[in-house]
């Protein structure tokens, strides 16, 4: 298999604070292949945005990458000096943020912002750059682009603005886009349009996407694979359909159960008791163990590694190949209802 586009190995992101060092991302590893859409899902505070920021090199100080490696097309990028990383940003890795209104400088026309970005990374002349800008606006679906290219951000609606943001991120064809909650700030009716646009453009240009969000619906629509994050760690990663239909990690299972689904019988939404621990209070062993219905002794002592299971990987001791229990039995345990626990042999 060819080298994955992005490889993240044992990434640790730390925040020194007055009260001690907080670990926002605790030893995570994942890959993104060329043209692939990897969803990164989890609750607020799970470390998803930090991961994205670390990949593109925009961690806000005092946050820093304390350990691990990030490789783009096989070359390390996490330890590059600022100027070299800057050349990678925009050109090879792009980013889209949550709020389209504040992502655009209100004092400059969007044409100027597009031309500026284009000219930073290419030697197109002003005229050619401007023409390219108009093309891009058309591509993202802005009507009358020749006229609107000189308008200011406040003259666009929220959905239009996010389209402009997408145009800006894609204007010099980066191989990878980090999309951090790209639809959260938009009206529900617009969200679907923007997601569809993003998906289409990335397929057309072969751009890989790291789609960070807390919205499983968006992931289901768009992603090829998904990584579920919990308390700064990856709980499970795998193909989207697998993770959604047959969640292996108890947390992922709880997550899926708590999403209302149209078409199912009206039953009570499952709720995972308790809440995600704060970064200062992460329990020893598996971070999820206090809330896990199936936790046993080892879970409380040893932090689980990402164990390859079928097409994905799970960070749960239930799936340790050294277990007496088989993978299928483990899956049954996890997917059983709380009221009817499955009798299980010794793990």
């Amino acid at each position: 298999m060819s080298t994955p586009l992005l490889q993240v190995r044992n990434l640790v992101v730390e925040f020194p604070t007055r009260r001690g060092t907080l670990t926002a991302v605790d030893d995570i590893s994942f890959d993104i292949a060329e043209g692939e859409v990897l969803g990164v899902v989890g609750e607020s505070g799970a470390g998803k945005s930090m991961t994205g920021a670390a990949v593109i090199g925009l961690l806000e100080p005092p946050g820093r990458i304390a350990a691990g490696e990030i490789l783009l097309e096989g070359r390390r990028i996490d330890n590059l000096p600022y100027e070299q990383m800057r050349q990678i940003r925009g050109r090879h890795i792009g980013a889209i943020f949550q709020d389209p209104l504040t992502s655009l400088n209100p004092l400059y026309s969007i044409g100027r912002q597009l031309v500026e970005t284009i000219q930073t990374h290419t030697d197109l002349s002003s005229t050619r750059a401007r023409a390219r800008a108009v093309e891009l606006l058309a591509e993202v679906g802005i009507p009358a682009p020749e006229r609107r290219v000189d308008q200011y951000p406040h003259q666009f609606s929220g959905g239009m603005r996010q389209r402009v943001v997408i145009a800006l991120a894609l204007c010099v064809n980066p191989r990878l886009i980090i999309a951090d909650e790209p639809t959260t700030a938009l009206d529900v009716s617009i969200q679907a349009q923007i997601i569809a646009l993003l998906k289409r453009l990335c397929r057309e240009h072969g751009t890989a996407v790291m789609l960070v969000t807390h919205d499983m619906g968006v992931i289901a629509e768009t992603a090829d694979r998904v990584a579920v994050m919990y308390a700064g760690r990856i709980a499970e990663v795998g193909p989207v359909r697998e993770v959604i239909k047959n969640a292996k990690h108890p947390y992922t299972h709880g997550l899926m159960g708590s999403i209302p689904a149209i078409g199912h019988d009206a039953e009570r939404l499952e709720q995972i008791p308790g809440s995600m621990p704060r970064l200062t209070d992460i329990p020893p062993g598996c971070a999820f163990n206090p809330r896990c219905l199936h936790a046993f002794d080892r879970c409380r002592r040893e932090r689980p590694e990402l164990i390859p299971v079928e097409d994905g990987r799970v960070s749960c001791w239930l799936y340790d190949p050294a277990n007496a229990m088989s993978v299928d039995e483990a899956k049954a345990v996890v997917s059983a209802r709380a009221e009817t626990p499955v009798e299980r042999a010794d793990v």
């Binding site: 925009l58 925009g90 792009g94 992502s103 209100p106 026309s109 500026e116 990374h121 406040h154």
Partner: protein
Amino acid sequence: MVAFIIRRLLQSLFVMFFVALVSFAMFQFIGDPVNQMVGVETSLAERAALRERLGLNDPMVVQFWHYIVNAVSGDFGISYQHKRPVAQMLLERLPATLELSLVSALLSLVVGIPMGVYTGLNRDGFLAKVFLTISLIGISLPTFLIGILLIFVFSVTLANIPPISVLGLFAIDLSVLQLPSFGRGTTVDLGWWRTGLLTSDGLKALIMPSITLGLFQLTLIMRLVRSEMLEVLRADYIKFARARGLSNRAVHFGHALKNTLVPVITITGLQIGSIIAFAIITETVFQWPGMGQMFLQAVQNVDIPIMAAYLMLIAFFFVVINLIVDMLYYVVDPRLRVDTGKVSGHG
């Protein structure tokens, strides 16, 4: 746009009217102008005649009307103390104050803005901390104290300092750095405008007063620019600009600076007005023959016509400057151009 101008003009008229009211009220409050103007020997009959001629027996509203009409045509009455037309006295002293004020304002902008930008960009640098300390001192020292200290160092001490001998080889005579501490030096008349800018003498005399007057403004501007800069650098559009790989120069001076300067314009504009008023103090310390010194003497001698005229003049300056600043705001911030109904302003 037109509606905006009209509204601001109306506001300005309202302010002028109100100030005229206050000025007029001063006359009424302080007692009989006739008694102020004549000597003790003047008979009661003559006083009564004078009162009649000055229109002091007319109803209040009529007197007020006359007052406004006169003011608009440039007649501010006769000074009680000096027995000369106030308008003429004002004109004589206007150039001195205006030159001093404008040079101070220029100084504070030319030094303050770059200092502010520097300390905003290099938050924790050593030089930045030095600047900040200087700014704190600038804000803490009352204007008159700054003036006195400058005089103490550059006029008194330097005058008496003996030449410093360096290694017995030659002597440095610091007294050449001595600066004049009162008056404007040699002035040149350009028509009715008496300027000190055309002689080296006059320029030397301008140095200490303009530093004194401008120091407070300088620190204010520096702190403002700094805090705006810090605020702006945290904005999403800056993050997005970095994510697009724009150079530091483009981010700092293209995007951040422009957004920083918008509120700075307003404050600066308003401050110019207050510089003219603060000139009172500086002119007193340096015996500068300007309007401020005249006003102070008027206050001490209860010379109401001068006090009232000065007040109106200052109000006029403020109103004009305010209008110019608002126009500038309009030019700089595109958000204001579209929503003419929503000009919220900056008060």
